[in-house]
Point group: D2
Chain length 243, copies 4
């Protein structure tokens, strides 16, 4: 327990919720068909499933990206700051609103890797391989992290109690602290994110995401695949490269 | 009638249809409140209309733009090419798919100004004033435009009949030809568009849009104002400057 | 000659001039190395040509795009309006300023395909092949286009002489009219443009650009290749896909 | 001293260096004049200083933004992570490459507020006023921060020595740790940044930046003002609102 009663929490997972959306495979179809057919009633588009699938696969493979932009998904994401640091480097087709350490006192929720998180890194930049840590290494991580987090949060609390502004006191808080945000994207910007932030044997271009942002990406991908199954399948089939 | 039976049409108005949307004032509220309150259930947000209005006005006035991005509107627009030429210069927060003169034979729909269109321009760049044209001037515009359009389209048809590729033959088609597209935006990118493409006495910064793109903008604004009335009112009250 | 003395010109080529730039392969190197080494003096970077080449190839292949953004090139481009219509759909990493038909009387420069331009299109969308036109077809194109252009420009002049505003009168001008603009980009946004607007046997993803925008793209590519030869070579080697 | 010999440093200032640029007031002038005059030789533009100043002021006041984009500035910035967190929310017209805690062991440089930093915050969100901290409060901040930083960095070192991957161990490092990056922008995107990240009595729209990002912004503004003095003066005169 901290002084103000907020309970310290050590979490090994992230949260992703699809808050709202306007996104379906049909959105891709009519956007694509305007180039050859002008306006069509939405009813006419997509009545032949095989042709719909073929058109989406063609657009993906030949990198016709704009038809994948006429849709929208908003996610609530709660994850450590070091994940958000990577996330916010995605600039195009993404909108963000995040909780602020200037306007509110931050809650003591911290990230500690779970037992399945591989802790040991081998190889060199661009060629990293992660391997299992030993039980001793997991023990070190858990104990050292929790102790360090406790100390940092206590320092934060001590400064707040001394009347120091939140935006100053927060400097001691670690990047393992959880933050939360709303993130809005479209299928094209999401695919670009997924191509860089997931690792897959199906990927034509290798990527080496940090596991924690990949955990966020996997949850987003699962939600998106339910909304736009044909588009998702085409993305996978094309080697997970965004059009 | 053209050779292939398409009827020549001279139109003095543009078409704007809101095809789909995921956009409400509430979207602004929860996006803004995440910064001070973390996640809230959507039910809690916006139950006090006066506070909602106040928050939206505050965000608009102090130019907190990002909470206005977590929403999406897709419009079908049919308008002359010279309008689309201006429209597509809006790059941020806009997605476009337009019919293609490479992939299809373009229909003979052309823009001719209506009688209420002011035809005479006075003053100098940045200070233009438009005044009524005389009946003779309207007669000249109507007759000269229609004759020129007919000739251009006949030249287009003649080349197509000679087996020339559509993308080559179209070079003679005028910028007064109608095209159509789907355009997707969010409230923030739409406000930026409206601030430049409408003329209003309420505007803090003067703008001098061409009337034809303003006709498109006015129809988009009307549709948007119905979806997000508080946000629209705040935009107007703040002098029609996008946050 | 037109009434105001401007001579009618029929052009079969486009103009591209590199107006200014701040772009070199070295810019890519130090941008990439900040991630592993913090700041380095510019002198230290890029002294070993083989390592420099290897790093740029690695970045390109694995799609690390951001190091290719810290540079800038401004081009002056003069080309037909139908080319600019496609050009301006490139939204990210591009800045444009174009001459305005609202603010000035447009000059009578028009595009007519040269003899090497293939005029006949076979196949279907996404699979087009262009083949040589017959001499008769070239004759039709030249004669019909020039006659149509002359008529359209005369109609424009007639309206201007009747006191009609330039922005109204221009509606009859064809998309084969030349316009001019300044366009500023960086190597990453240029590569994306080139990947879509050039056709190459080296391309991993096929593209089917209209020949006239490809003419612009080829001139831009030649200028860029001189500024950033290692980056250009890596782009070609990686299958002409932008990172 | 840390175990590996890196000396712990507590810094109260940020570093900003203009690494390279292609940016002058003249760039604005020719970009603006292409709309009315087509291409001009660069020599003709800007020979009359009063007209140049007048044109730039007009563009700024009436929000013609695109002529301010044909220029480029690259800065090296070293500042605490909490500053970069705010910085990277600027998405449009900005390119970033930052050092990576995945690829290198991070140096023990930490931010501790100087004596002139106001520590106490009064009022409510959107209306904050900062006032001087007492000597005791400065003492608390200095002592608590330094102790907390030392402890966090020791925990980081302990995990590294146990063979834990850098990307995992860094979770305990505080947002007061210094990072470094290259950031490339143009005058328009820089003005937008400055309008939100500096506080000024000349500002038409009030802003409440955190002091530490304002320190970065002030150094960037000073460098930019030397490169583009007319543009900077017009920005100030227009109330520090980006066009």
């Amino acid at each position: 327990m901290t002084d103000d009663g907020a309970e310290m929490r050590f979490l090994d997972d992230v949260t992703v919720e699809l808050v709202k959306h306007s996104a379906s495979d049909t959105d891709v179809l009519w956007a694509a068909r305007v180039s050859t057919a002008g306006e069509q009633s939405l009813e006419e588009v997509g009545t032949d499933p095989e042709r719909s699938k073929g058109l989406i696969n063609f657009l993906m493979r030949d990198r016709h990206g704009s038809p994948f932009e006429h849709n929208s998904m908003t996610f609530f994401v709660s994850a450590p700051i070091f994940v958000f640091r990577e996330f916010h480097r995605h600039r195009v087709g993404w909108s963000y609103n995040e909780e602020s350490g200037r306007y509110r006192e931050l809650r003591p929720d911290f990230y500690v890797p779970g037992t399945e998180r591989k802790l040991v890194q081998q190889g060199r930049p661009g060629k990293y391989v992660f391997v299992e840590g030993s039980p001793e290494q997991h023990k070190v991580v858990t104990e050292v992290m929790e102790a360090s987090y406790r100390q940092s949060y206590a320092a934060y609390q001590e400064m707040l109690e001394a009347g120091i502004a939140r935006e100053v006191a927060r400097a001691v808080l670690p990047v393992g602290l959880f933050s939360s945000m709303y993130a809005t994207c479209n299928a094209r910007s999401l695919m670009h994110f997924l191509s860089l932030r997931t690792k897959s044997e199906q990927a034509r271009v290798p990527s080496f995401p940090q596991r924690e942002i990949e955990m966020v990406a996997e949850k987003m991908e699962a939600a998106w695949a339910r909304l736009m199954p044909l588009t998702h399948a085409a993305f996978v089939a094309s080697g997970r490269v965004a059009p």
